[in-house]
């Protein structure tokens, strides 16, 4: 570049009349053009020519003059060309209708007139807008330099503002004489648009485009010429009026709906209105308003009277839930979600409904009779009375089991119902789900026997019917079980029942181990390790015992001691802590207020026991085995000789049966081996010889002497009950169609406890709880050394809440107790009573 002769070229001005670049000639050109533009004759104009004219004026530093000239030209144009036709549109009729809400005019008439007015405004606006755009284009250089430097509103904004000042804010001189208040054209415009919108809401068809054009116009005009974004006339004037009018409209509409008293219709109506308003904002008004107007609808149509609608008889929330009106509920959910994030109204109603329905289940249990008129589902009713009232009672136990199952089924059905609601209507809303869950938990725990019933239900499901069922069915049962357990608050009580029931199932091999294990595994996942520790111990015992039995059998075989009276032994070695005390024989013992009594086994069995014991101790010295006869069973081979005098029929020949009886049954039957034909034994005699507890003996003898299928003993007198005064003899005329007979084991059937038993259980449970609370207190104090009473209580509750809801009174008592035993001492921290741990 340096090589060039780079003398800067001055601007070579075109050779033309110097005057041509003076202000006046340039302005003359422009003024002519403005007129042409307004008259839509722009196509013959040269943009360049006009642009250059304005450009030169600005270079001559005459920008301000140009600016003012254009402005006054436009003002003049408005006065002479624009305003007159608009004034003509504003007839007094229109004013009456628009501003005085003249009811005399029909909707059709109002619409016609309003639309004609809007069309006039629209035409004027569009013409003005187009012209102003073109003028702004040719004055572009002015805009770019002068207006910016002088901090003036752009010429475009200034001329658009003229429309506002000369049209919208024009009061039309004396046109408002007959009104008591002054008005401007803008008022009429607003009134007409709002009237049209209300007509559309009422179902009329209006010219949406026309309304849209009017509102777009208002969006393009600002309060002031510097055009701040939030000062559009649409926002400052029209929108507030629109919202106020809408509020009024919907308030009236809502009251009308309330009078119709149909919540379902209300829901659908509100939904439709919301959609309409959204749609209106998109097509007719402005999206700027969408949120605000839907808020108005939310408030006026939904929130204002929501509780009234929800409480309506027959169509309200109660009926929606009860009748599974999913669509209604679904709409309701959406509407409520709009107005209230926490959905408290819906939540509260759902909770009340769950509680009510849950309590209904309990109530219906009380009212239902399970084949007996007074099924003792209710603890208050004496079970004994029920027994006697019915000649052919399904045993009380069975009735109660049925009640438990019914209860569980009902609860599960209720749960299903609300689950369905949650998925189909409430979009699995977490707030609602947890509220419903809490209500379930509440009413289940208000029912005092829920723990027992749940355990019974599981027991029943596992004992019956799982065999041969598909994995899916099993899965359903397992899931139900876990769902229910999850609701239970007093898990220790449930644990106790479940332990008892599980023990019976395991010992009598009533269920399938893999299903049991699966269930326990799920409980573990749900409730934690400590909850299932005992159950797992039980399974372990069962497995070890199986091995043990087999090893012992091998051991005996290897001894070569071929006993003619060989007795096969299958043994279960149960760890004391894992198994419920009832099973271990201690429960019964304490109940009868006696020490542990061992029954007297027959010598043949005794030998076997000794042999096994010595075998057992070979590997495990120092252990003690207690034989629990109440929990065992035996297969006894019985030979029934030919009954003399019977030549035909089954009695005519010798019969061999294999009877499965309880261990006690075996002991009892063994006694009859040593009796001569025709001899009999009294109840007392039997008890004396066997030392079996009375209750167990009654059960044992009942199973052997009452049911026809296993009546190997003949009872004297023949009755349905075993009394301590009865006598028993070998039933020589026993016959059965099958070789293998199972004597029903009366005490192995699960049943609901009667009230005494239940009190027992609760008492025991409370004792256990006491220990748990003690342990928790000591654990906490050991760690913290000193703690105030309140802190200690809350820590204890925190620790235990996973197992049961500790009673504050109990905690207090346990603290007292520990104070007495000098684990703790009383101190004060500040003013608060506190404790210190004594090591």
């Amino acid at each position: 570049m340096a090589s060039r002769p780079n003398r800067i070229r001055p601007i070579r001005r075109p050779i033309m009349n110097k005057e041509a670049s003076e202000f006046e000639p340039c302005w003359d050109i422009l003024r002519g053009a403005l007129t042409d533009i307004h008259n839509k004759n722009a196509s013959r104009l040269s943009f360049e020519n006009l642009y250059r004219a304005s450009y030169k004026i600005v270079l001559k530093k005459k920008g301000e003059l140009l600016y003012q000239n254009v402005k006054s030209f436009e003002e003049g144009w408005f006065r002479t060309h624009v305003l007159p036709p608009i004034s003509e549109l504003v007839t007094s009729n229109l004013v009456n209708i628009a501003l005085l809400q003249n009811a005399a005019a029909s909707a059709h008439e109002r619409r016609q007139m309003g639309e004609r007015f809007l069309r006039g405004i629209r035409t004027t606006w569009e013409d003005h807008n187009t012209s102003m755009n073109m003028i702004a284009d040719i004055l572009m250089y002015l805009e770019r330099t002068y207006t910016a430097e002088a901090r003036q509103p752009s010429i475009f904004a200034a001329t658009i503002g003229l429309f506002r000042d000369h049209i919208l804010r024009n009061s039309l001189g004396g046109a408002s004489d007959h009104l008591d208040r002054p008005f401007v054209i803008f008022d009429i415009l607003n009134a007409v648009v709002l009237d049209l919108i209300n007509m559309e809401r009422d179902g009329d068809i209006v010219d949406r485009n026309l309304v849209r054009d009017a509102t777009s116009m208002l969006e393009a005009i600002y309060e002031t010429d510097d055009e701040p974004e939030n000062a559009k006339l649409y926002l400052t004037v029209f929108e507030p009026r629109f919202l106020a009018a809408s509020q009024l409209f919907y308030r009236i509409e809502c009251e009308k709906l309330l009078r119709d008293a149909d919540a379902s219709a209300w829901l659908r109506h509100a939904q439709r209105r919301l959609r309409e308003e959204q749609d209106r904002c998109e097509t007719t008004l402005s999206l700027l308003t969408a949120d605000k107007i839907t808020k108005v609808v939310d408030q006026e149509l939904i929130v204002a009277k929501m509780h009234d609608f929800l409480a309506m008889d027959g169509t309200g929330l109660k009926s929606m839930i009860d009748n599974d009106r999913h669509e209604d509920l679904s709409i309701l959910y959406h509407l409520i979600s709009r107005v209230d994030k926490s959905k408290s109204a819906l939540k509260a109603s759902l909770q009340t409904r769950v509680m009510d329905l849950g309590l209904d289940i309990e109530q219906s249990l009380r009212d239902t009779d399970f084949t007996a008129p007074a099924a003792p589902a209710d603890a208050d009713e004496p079970a004994e009375g029920a027994d006697k009232a019915k000649p052919q009672p399904l045993s009380a136990a069975a009735q109660q089991t049925a009640a438990a199952i019914k209860w569980v089924d009902e609860v599960l059905r209720l749960k299903d119902k609300f689950d369905t609601l949650s998925t189909t209507c409430f979009e699995n809303d977490l707030v609602l789900q947890s509220a419903v869950t809490k209500s379930f938990s509440d009413f289940i725990n208000m029912f005092s026997r829920s723990s027992e019933f749940v355990s019974l239900f599981i027991d029943d499901s596992l004992k019956r019917g799982l065999k041969g069922k598909s994995d899916d069915d099993v899965e359903v049962v397992l899931q139900k079980a876990v769902v229910l357990i999850r609701y239970l608050a007093d898990r220790d009580l449930f644990e106790r029942y479940y332990q008892k029931h599980l023990a019976r199932r395991l010992l009598h091999q009533k269920s399938e181990t893999h299903v049991e294990k699966e269930l326990v595994r799920r409980m573990k996942a749900e409730l934690g390790n400590h909850f299932t520790a005992k159950f797992e111990g039980m399974f372990r015992d069962m497995e070890l015992s199986k091995d043990l039995s087999e090893n012992y059998r091998d051991h005996v075989r290897n001894l070569g001691d071929v006993d003619t009276k060989k007795v096969e032994l299958g043994i279960h070695v149960l760890t004391t802590n894992n198994w419920p005390p009832e099973v271990m024989g201690r429960g019964a013992a304490t109940q009868e207020d006696r020490g542990i009594v061992n029954c007297i086994f027959p010598p043949s069995i005794k030998r076997l026991q000794d042999s096994f014991f010595s075998y057992y101790l070979k590997d495990r010295s120092g252990r003690i085995l207690t034989w629990v006869a109440s929990a065992g069973s035996a297969d006894v081979k019985c030979v029934f000789p030919k009954v003399p005098g019977k030549e035909t029929g089954p009695l005519s020949k010798e019969r061999r049966y294999e009877i499965n009886v309880s261990t006690y049954g075996m002991i009892v039957l063994d006694l009859f081996n040593h009796l001569a034909d025709g001899e009999s034994l009294s109840f007392e005699e039997i008890q004396a010889k066997t030392n079996i507890p009375t209750l167990d003996l009654v059960r044992t003898l009942s199973s052997l002497s009452i049911p026809p299928k296993s009546r190997v003993l003949a009872k004297e007198p023949m009755s349905k009950n075993v009394k301590t005064t009865d006598r028993f003899a070998f039933n020589t005329s026993f016959a059965s169609k099958t070789i293998k007979i199972k004597a029903p084991v009366i005490n192995s059937s699960s049943k609901v406890e009667d009230s005494d038993e239940r009190k027992q259980t609760e008492l025991k449970n409370d004792q256990t709880r006491c220990h748990v609370v003690d342990a928790a207190i000591v654990r906490i104090m050991k760690q913290r050394r000193e703690l105030t009473h309140t802190q200690l209580t809350s820590e204890v509750i925190n620790q235990l809440v996973g197992r049961f809801n500790p009673d504050v009174g109990m905690i207090k008592r346990r603290i007292e107790d520990l104070l007495g035993r000098e684990y703790l001492e009383r101190i004060e921290i500040g003013d608060a009573p506190a404790y210190r741990y004594l090591a």
Binding site: M1, I8, P10, R13, A148
Partner: protein, 553 residues
């Protein structure tokens, strides 16, 4: 000994006999001049390397070190001896010197005490903007040179002569320390300083010593003069490592200071600086070598609200300026920590601000301290519309890297300025102003200034520009970063603000410029959940951010 650091002693050690006083120094100068073979003018043979061939006859050869503190060179000094200038270690702060001769005073580069004992009798002198002392050389005040002075090599005044003398002496003798302190320099013909680039250390050519060429480490002391601007040629003195401009009349530093990559110590205390150019941040950032920086006192503009929230500062830096190279935690180089940002001023060609935010020019002369309204990092006020009526929308985060070519206007302006003919064009414009838009001349003048000051780079996209259109202030603390607790964690070490004389952690204003309305700070997304109180506070700030700058006092 030889590697006497560039730094003066602290006042407390001022009387230490091993440090020569000024008087001693002065007496040495003629010595050198007399041994120099050069006449008053530089010639091509002033290359110090040439002198080495007659070295045995020359005194200086037997000395190493700055002229004021020479030591006889030890014979093996070039090999492995720490004390030779060759292996001169960069001064490191907070480190005990590993050889006894090295002084540990590094901060007050140019405290004035040593250079100028009689002028600065107290320790406090840096605190006080002293009136210049009576000049040592009584000089006729030269008329201000024209904006485009004709290059001249002739000294046009006595003080100019002195300047030339000193510089030439340094160039002749390979002295890296150039002392122009207190010469009443007001406006030295700028090309005088171009000569500084010629300084090269004289390599040790003693027997048995390996020849080693090293970059010079030029130290320039211009304190106690009357400079009102940094002489532009200094920008191009590549090996300038120490620059003292203490106690001058600087009102601004050129943005092109970012070119002085080798600067390790800079003293601009006691000037009339209102702000620093954004370009200085390049020297203070991870890439810069600046270790010592004296900047107070100066009448800096202040943030209007010292309690404003600096929430989002890091995010803002990352989004606006792109990923920054990690700061070497624990390294001794200085770094900065962003505190606040002002609103952004959007201007058009006529320098008319299109937003409410409007800054005073750098040289505005109000007497009091000026406060600048702040804008939270979560806000960004933008101009509503472009002059063409098209709405303006701010670029999104990541809008960095401006796309598209420069405007024809700027291209023409650049051609004009680059040709060096801007002055004539301006004259033409003035003669015929009725035919030109009135903003052309001022814009061209500004462009010319920018060009002569070494250029201006857009803070956001990094392009060079002559027509900056956006400006905003960033208030930053200057300090160092401590070593991070665990280097692997990627966390930055704790920032330790420099305790300037004006107190801990003073936030210093840096003026940022953008080359287009696109090149603006990025708005940081506000945190989702903020406490109600904070929200309220933000609104307060919003109101204030819109206000114009008002001078306090």
């Amino acid at each position: 000994m030889a590697d006497e650091p560039t730094l003066p002693t602290l006042p407390a050690r001022r009387s230490e006999p091993s440090f020569p006083t000024k008087r001693l120094k002065r007496s040495r100068v003629p010595d050198y001049s007399s041994t120099s073979s050069d006449p008053a003018f530089f010639s091509s043979d002033d290359d110090p390397a040439l002198d080495n061939y007659q070295a045995h006859a020359r005194r200086k050869k037997r000395y190493v070190g700055a002229w004021f503190d020479q030591q006889p060179a030890s014979s093996d000094s070039a090999l492995g001896d720490d004390d030779t200038p060759i292996s001169y270690p960069a001064p490191r702060r907070n480190q005990v010197p590993d050889h006894p001769q090295k002084r540990e005073f590094k901060r007050q580069l140019d405290s004035g005490v040593w250079m100028d004992t009689d002028a600065c009798p107290t320790d406090m002198d840096d605190m006080i903007d002293l009136e210049p002392r009576s000049p040592r050389f009584r000089l006729p005040q030269p008329a201000m040179p024209s904006p485009l002075p004709a290059p001249s090599r002739k000294p046009n005044s006595l003080w100019d002569f002195n300047v030339q003398e000193v510089i030439r002496n340094c160039v002749d003798n390979g002295l890296e320390r150039v002392d122009l302190t207190g010469l009443e320099v007001e406006r030295v013909p700028e090309d005088r300083f171009e000569l500084l680039s010629n300084i090269a250390p004289i390599p040790n050519v003693a027997k048995d010593v390996a020849f080693e060429q090293r970059d010079p480490r030029i130290q320039l002391f211009l304190s106690n003069n009357r400079l009102s601007r940094l002489p532009p040629p200094l920008i191009n003195v590549e090996h300038l490592t120490v620059l003292s401009l203490r106690a001058n009349r600087l009102v601004e530093l050129p943005p092109a200071i970012c070119k002085m990559k080798n600067l390790e110590a800079l003293n601009v205390a006691q000037n009339k600086l209102r702000m620093f150019p954004g370009g200085l941040l390049d020297l203070l950032g991870p890439r810069g070598k600046l270790r010592t920086f004296n900047f107070a006192p100066n009448p800096f503009v202040m943030p209007r609200r010292s309690g404003a929230s600096s929430f989002g500062a890091d995010e803002y830096e990352r989004l606006t300026f792109g990923p920054q190279p990690p700061v070497d935690a624990g390294c001794s180089a200085l770094t900065t920590k962003l505190q606040f940002r002002s609103g952004v001023e959007f201007t058009d060609l006529s320098r008319t601000a299109r937003t409410k935010v409007c800054f005073p020019s750098a040289a505005f002369n109000t007497t009091g301290r000026t406060a600048i309204g702040l804008e939270p990092f979560t806000e960004l006020a933008a101009p509503a519309k472009l002059p063409t009526g098209e709405p303006f929308s701010l670029p999104n985060a990541g809008g960095r890297g401006r796309r598209g070519p420069k405007s024809l206007f700027e291209a023409a302006m650049r051609a004009c300025v680059a040709s060096g003919k801007a002055y004539f064009v301006l004259q033409m414009l003035e003669e015929d102003h009725m035919h030109y838009p009135n903003y052309v001349a001022p814009t061209l003048r500004q462009a010319d200034d920018i060009h002569r000051d070494g250029g201006l780079w857009c803070a956001v996209c990094g392009r060079d520009t002559l027509v900056p259109l956006t400006r905003w202030f960033e208030f930053r603390q200057i300090g160092t970063r401590e070593a991070a607790a665990s280097p692997e964690s990627g966390e930055e070490g704790k920032f330790v603000a420099m305790g300037g004389e004006q107190g801990e952690g003073m936030a210093v204003p840096f003026l940022r410029s953008g080359c287009s309305w696109d090149c603006v700070p990025v708005k940081v997304e506000p945190e989702e959940e903020e406490g109600g109180e904070e929200c309220e506070e933000e609104e307060d700030e919003k109101e204030e951010a819109g206000e114009e700058v008002v001078a306090e006092e």
